[in-house]
């Protein structure tokens, strides 16, 4: 689209802007310095009349780029909604008049502030292009589901039901996964009274009957390459040959293994066949059902008369030996298994030894139902299980009766509720530690699930304990691999009901990813963003920083070792742009230039004016809204700051800082989100990387012979509404203490 670029500017006089600011002078600035000739002030720009005026200019006057000098870009978005043109917004209300006192003395600096924001808005709009959408799209509408357990089957069926073809890859010889091994399952629907059919057979036959679902059994992924909309999956099949499937998005539903009960010899596992894990009990129950008789004691085939369930076996372990987490489902699972016995024969003693019984939601009904059936719940911590002949003695601390030496003798069967260990493949972030045990652990985890042909590693990054869960409470599906969503117990410990819900949600995300990839639009959190990264390879020095730092593994290397952008994998955070030392990476509407030109547009008063200039680069999601809210409180803030919102602090290129210092700014403040273990950066690594980069800025400052206090990085949350103005005002004070920058006027 080679539409001629025509820029227009609009200045609002409402909300006190007209009274507090000299509009004529503002118009002058836009014309003379901003070099935009078409400037229209309006007494109430967001009114329908004002909006119509702008729309008319767009429709009838060929205006393609607009600069609006009014309120914050976060305000009045319904009114200033012109999707067909590029737009910049100069924040005169929240950014200027709301944070400055309405006094005669303040008038001059307030006006200067507003003028600068207009200069910045003009500079930005000129450097912007209207995004046209990533041209490197893929149009595959097929979903690849990895794993044929209850999660994978749910994903496949739900996708097919939505109208999308599915390729399902299962490593074993049959569908069903763990659920198929269950005699019955915990109910997920009223009444919550008794175990129900595991539901696997019905799902398997539905999959087999669905022409839109293609199943590969005894198959694994040999290689996965490409990007959303155009993934290519090489499937190693049973016959030894490789099948290739083009798919648009991936749901990884690779489930879990039970924690190895052999690691719990103190609980008698291995010492007696009458000590089983929950999986072992399911098998005994299925055998009994097939036989049509009672559950038998493995050691001698006698009917079980008493059974003890040991909860949290090798779980919730603070010592670091076993699993530290709770697997969530095991309380309900043991209740269900106790019902296998009680429903068959009420005379069988069933005791559940627990420390905290965890049956959330309607699980409470299931718990009550078990009690009604005579299952006994004893709050106690199991110390050991001692096999003796055909029975076992379970020693425990009864926490209610405070009896350290409590025990149950003559238990025919002991069931250990061991936890879920995710099948999540290679931990690509794993840093090898010394020691044999660690080495063994690593070896176990070198078998990749997806075999991603990504520079950053073969599998989806893991969060903790091997689970691929998202770090975000509000956005549970956001993995760090665009178009690949994990679901079920590989993501987080969970039961069948949750796994089905999880699979359904992940399927939606996968469908959404491939649909957006097809139109060249970004995925969460910048959904709808049509900009994409482009790189000027001529200037690239092959330093690899972009490929290393991209939090989403979007950038590979081509044969010539140049960065190879997979635009559909990109989340548009701009971390690569921030990383690039030669500044060859940019987005149409966000680039080194769109920000850099704003920084340079600010007018820098001379050294003797006592008017410092402070640049604030603020995360647009947290720090910038915090400032808006401070402005709503009319919190007075320095008139010397000029704030530029950035997509993520990770996108901050150090050139902006050196440019700012070079052109005479007295200081630079960077405000990003919390990083570290509890990071809040929505681009995962952005703020962390920025922090790392800024740790090196001191050398630059020393090179300039400038004080290191002149550049500071802050962790700011969106709720820091009172803190941000204070940080700014303190910084201003500090600048006065240090003195003006010697670089002014060069």
């Amino acid at each position: 689209m080679a539409v001629e670029k025509k820029v227009a500017a609009y200045i609002c006089q409402g909300c006190g802007l007209g009274e507090r600011l000299d509009t004529d002078a503002l118009v002058d600035v836009v014309k003379k310095e901003g070099k935009i000739q078409q400037v229209k002030p309006h007494p109430f720009l967001c009114s329908s009349e004002g909006v119509t005026m702008i729309q008319n200019d767009i429709d009838n006057d060929g205006v393609s780029h607009i600069m609006i000098g009014a309120c914050s870009r976060r305000a009045k978005t319904d009114a200033f909604n012109f999707p067909s043109v590029a737009m910049s917004r100069a924040n005169l209300r929240e950014g200027v008049i709301w944070i400055r006192p309405d006094t005669e003395e303040a008038r001059e600096t307030t006006q200067e502030m507003a003028e600068d924001y207009l200069r910045m808005g003009c500079a930005e709009i000129k450097a912007m292009r209207q995004p046209e959408g990533n041209p490197n799209t893929g149009t595959s509408k097929t979903l690849l589901v990895v794993g044929g357990g209850i999660t994978g089957m749910t994903a496949a069926l739900e996708a097919a039901k939505t109208g999308y073809p599915v390729v399902l890859v299962e490593k074993s010889g049959q569908l069903g996964g763990w659920a198929a091994k269950l005699h019955m399952r915990v109910p997920s629907h009223e009444p919550y009274k008794a175990p129900v059919d595991n539901g696997v057979a019905g799902m398997v036959s539905a999959i087999e009957a669905d022409p839109n679902i293609k199943v590969y059994l005894n198959a694994t992924l040999a290689k996965t390459s490409g990007a959303p909309g155009r993934f290519q999956a090489e499937i190693a099949t049973e016959s030894g040959s490789t099948a290739t499937e083009d798919v648009g998005a991936i749901v990884q539903a690779t489930g879990f293994e039970l924690y190895d009960a052999n690691k719990l010899p103190e609980l008698g596992y291995g010492a007696s066949p009458n000590v089983v894990d929950q999986g072992g009990l399911e098998q005994l129950a299925r055998e009994a059902a097939e036989r049509g008789g009672p559950i038998l004691r493995p050691s001698d085939g006698q009917p079980v008369k008493s059974v003890v369930f040991v909860q949290c076996a090798g779980q919730r372990d603070a010592s670091g030996t076993h699993l530290a987490y709770c697997s969530g489902h095991c309380c309900n699972t043991s209740i269900k298994q106790a019902m296998y016995f009680k429903d068959a024969n009420a005379d069988i003693d069933t005791t559940v030894l627990y420390t905290d019984l965890r049956t959330p939601g309607n699980g409470e009904d299931f718990y009550r139902s078990a009690q009604e059936k005579g299952v006994i719940f004893t709050k106690g911590k199991v110390a050991s299980v001692q096999p003796a002949g055909n029975t076992c003695k379970v020693n425990f601390h009864d926490l209610i009766l405070d009896d350290q030496n409590a025990s149950i003798e003559n238990a025919d069967l002991v069931v250990l509720a061991t936890g879920q260990v995710p099948n999540s493949g290679v931990n690509i972030d794993f840093k090898a530690v010394e020691g044999e045990e660690a080495a063994a652990e690593v070896e176990k985890k070198t078998i990749s699930i997806l075999n991603l042909d990504y520079r950053q590693g073969k599998d989806v990054p893991q969060l903790k304990y091997g689970f691929t869960d998202s770090h975000f409470i509000c956005f549970p599906y956001e993995t760090r691999r665009t178009g690949i969503y994990t679901a079920g117990p590989v993501r987080r410990p969970m039961d069948i009901a949750q796994a089905k819900e999880d699979a359904t949600g992940a399927t939606l995300k996968a469908i959404q990813a491939l649909e957006n990839a097809a139109i060249g639009s970004a995925a969460h959190p910048r959904s709808g963003d049509l900009s994409y990264p482009s790189v000027r390879l001529e200037g690239c020095t092959q330093c690899k920083r972009c490929t290393v730092e991209c939090p989403f593994g979007a950038i590979d290397e081509d044969e010539k070792r140049y960065p190879l952008f997979n635009e559909s994998r990109c989340r548009r955070c701009g971390t690569c742009m921030g990383a690039c030392p030669v500044r060859v990476i940019s987005f149409e509407n966000y680039s080194v230039d769109t920000v850099g030109s704003q920084i340079k547009a600010v007018s820098i008063p001379d050294e003797f004016s006592e008017k410092p200039r402070i640049l604030v680069l603020a995360c647009e999601n947290d720090a910038y809204p915090a400032m808006d809210m401070a402005a709503m409180n009319r919190t007075e803030t320095s008139s010397f700051v000029r704030v530029v919102p950035v997509r993520c602090l990770g996108s901050v290129n150090t050139i902006w800082i050196t440019d700012a210092l070079n052109s005479g700014y007295d200081g630079v403040m960077l405000m990003g989100c919390k990083h570290g273990d509890e990071y809040q950066c929505h681009f995962v690594k952005g703020s962390e990387l920025a922090n790392y980069r800024m740790s090196k800025i001191d050398d630059t400052l020393k090179g300039f012979n400038l004080e290191t206090d002149r550049v500071q990085t802050y962790e700011v949350a969106i709720t820091d509404i009172d803190r941000v103005p204070k940080l700014i005002n303190d910084f201003e004070k500090r600048m006065f203490e240090i003195g003006m920058s010697p670089f002014k006027g060069f």
Partner: protein, 428 residues
């Protein structure tokens, strides 16, 4: 007159909290048209009233900002606020919903400048702070409100205050003639995400919520701890404004109780564990918390959070359902009575403040959902084919935390899409 374009390929999402927003956004970002209906003047729901989330202790409005940005930039979502669905007729793929829109008395001209609030004298209890403080009867619901538009409380309509507000507005944004209106819209599928309400603590008679000022609910405590709440984040007890440094948390206040709510509300253990953190954040080592519990349900990886709180010497755990709360009239302290069941120790312990971890009751109770919709014994909407294309999401469907609500809402969005896709196919 409010105009809404909707067809039976439209998805109707009822409720603009985290679940409703998620369902609407996920469906719209997959290319579907959505009408999102919220009964309050601003969206965000109950999570926007929380100070922090567990387990990260991050701030809910951070995610809200992202969702609002998604919403603002998505032309496929039509948002109706102060709107309630009063009835739904029809069947899967072809519903007609009747929506009642109550007047805001403020139109789209509003710039949120705040001049009307300055002009108005009357004050009303602030619902955002659960009535813990008052606000002007011309108000912005909160600082993150979307739409960012003031509201005139109906109590001042017809009074001189309303005229003052109108006179103060330079933008002709106040329209005192606005009338309640009813619109009907078509929808192929309905996602019901009306969330939850805290169980009425007055019904738990022995705990004295109705009698003792220093017995409050967990949701109220969120507002007390929030630096932007009614006490500017100082945890001050209501009776005398004293700093509450010794705080008791009573778990299962209403939940797991056949006299009240049969179900376990899932979130309350984690919420109280989180809130012990607020006490310490405010008062350091002087801030002591005691959690009275039956079972601590810190499920799956939340166990880490529990372990951390357990290791904190400023937090004590007592396995006991508190029997009753009394008040020491002289000091204003609340005294918790009961028995620590781990080894049988009787206690009568004074605390500065007692926080009831109140249970989660689905808001669908009493809402105008079609009668034939299947709900469980607690009133949560069940996933059942009999419900046609009427899908519960978030806490309308189960007692869920935020993470699981979002999961549930995303799944509900897909189920709705399946229906409208079928409608679209049939119409081609």
């Amino acid at each position: 007159m409010t105009e809404v374009v909707a067809t039976n390929e439209t998805i109707l999402v009822v409720g603009g909290g985290i679940s409703g927003m998620t369902a609407a956004l996920e469906a719209a970002e997959t290319g579907k048209n959505v009408v999102l209906v919220e009964k309050n003047p601003a969206i965000g729901g109950r999570t926007s009233q929380l100070y922090r989330y567990f387990p990260k202790l991050c701030h809910p409005i951070c995610g809200l900002e992202i969702n609002l940005r998604r919403l603002k930039s998505n032309p496929r979502i039509r948002l109706l606020t102060m709107a309630e669905v009063t009835g739904i007729t029809g069947a899967k793929g072809d519903y007609t919903a009747t929506i009642r829109i109550t007047p805001r008395y403020v139109n789209a001209n509003c710039t949120a400048c705040g001049d009307c609030a300055k002009a108005v004298g009357a004050e009303i209890p602030n619902p955002f702070n659960y009535g813990l403080n008052k606000m002007k009867a011309a108000y912005l619901p909160n600082k993150m409100a979307y739409p960012m538009r003031f509201v005139l409380d109906k109590s001042i309509i017809g009074t001189p205050d309303a005229d003052k507000a109108k006179a103060a507005c330079k933008y002709n944004a106040i329209d005192l003639d606005m009338q309640e209106e009813t619109v009907q819209i078509k929808a192929g599928a309905v996602v019901w995400a009306t969330g939850w309400q805290p169980y009425d603590a007055n019904k738990i008679q022995p705990y004295g919520y109705d009698r003792f000022k220093n017995v409050i609910t967990s949701v109220e405590f969120e507002r007390l701890a929030d630096p932007h709440g009614p006490t500017s984040g100082k945890i001050l007890r209501p009776s005398d404004g004293k700093e509450a440094k010794n705080v008791a948390f009573i778990q299962c206040a209403g939940s797991r109780d056949e006299n009240h709510l049969r179900h376990c509300s899932r979130i309350c253990c984690m919420a109280s564990l989180k809130q012990t953190n607020y006490v310490e954040e405010r008062y350091g080592n002087e801030g002591k918390s005691t959690i009275y519990y039956i079972d601590i349900r810190a499920i799956d990886r939340f166990e880490d959070f529990y372990a951390k709180v357990q290791a904190n010497p400023n937090v004590s755990f007592i396995k006991s359902k508190v029997a009753k709360v009394t008040q020491d009239d002289a000091s204003g302290d609340v005294i918790l009575h009961g028995v620590n069941t781990e080894g049988y120790h009787r206690y009568a312990t004074p605390h500065d403040l007692c926080v009831l971890a109140v249970g989660m009751e689905p808001s669908v109770k009493g809402a105008n959902i079609p009668a034939e919709i299947l709900a469980d014994s607690s009133g949560f909407i069940e996933a059942d084919p009999a419900n046609g294309a009427f899908f519960g999401a978030g806490c309308a469907s189960n007692a869920l935390d935020v993470n699981r609500s979002v999961q549930s809402a995303t799944a509900a969005a897909l189920r709705a899409i399946q229906v409208v896709n079928r409608v679209a196919k049939a119409e081609v």
